[in-house]
Symmetry: C2
Amino acid sequence: MPTDRCQCRIVHEQQVEKARRAALPPAEIDRLAQFFKAFADPTRLKILQALHLEEMCVCDLAAFLGVSESAVSHQLRLLRQMALVANRREGPVLYYRLADAHVSQLILLALDHIRE
Amino acid sequence: MPTDRCQCRIVHEQQVEKARRAALPPAEIDRLAQFFKAFADPTRLKILQALHLEEMCVCDLAAFLGVSESAVSHQLRLLRQMALVANRREGPVLYYRLADAHVSQLILLALDHIRE
DNA sequence: GTATCATCTGCACAACTGCTCATATACTAA
DNA sequence: TTAGTATATGAGCAGTTGTGCAGATGATAC
């Protein structure tokens, strides 16, 4: 049992209650965190930024990033699961593209923040 | 030395070149990843969402989140370093607030994505 | 000065992440 | 069928992350 949890009086019970009422459901918070996690890695960010320009295959992305194709494939799976990228098959080659306009928007908004 | 790195031919040299020219500088990519990492944790997301309503002290946040004040303090330091929250002192109490309008925008945009 | 309260910080540890390697799958061509 | 190419997947491992604990810091009251 934690000993330092709120032995202090709660200074503003009202504000805590207000926050509780406005809180998003835990499941939604978790999905949101998972979503942001997809952007929270340099390799994945580079993939997303590259695909913003045009579709690319796994081999292209590996060459662009300078990492193994296996690593790219692992990251693409994660991005697929988050519905951030989609692919289409042309013979043996899979071409990946962004699945959602939100992706570019989010990156631009974040760039605004870190540049100012 | 990796054995599976690009023994295959690069299928689309042009696209790789195009991606290379459009790429953000590595330092900016890293800062961007760090920035998104701040949102990529349920505890920090809850903090940011709570502070969107109004300022709160560390003790309030610990009560709201159900974690130790130490944990809250650790997370607030990280958010401070990313310039996402700011604080003001009133006697012994520190009141935290959001430091930037981008924060709420980003969360709303992400919610759009996961809800559709 | 001492005592108390709110917060911060260093450390340790379990849990998680991203990578490589080895192997499996899917498609094409002969 | 077999061989070769493109991608996917599982295991294992080093590095990172989030938390609680113990102790430190800073402010207030006496």
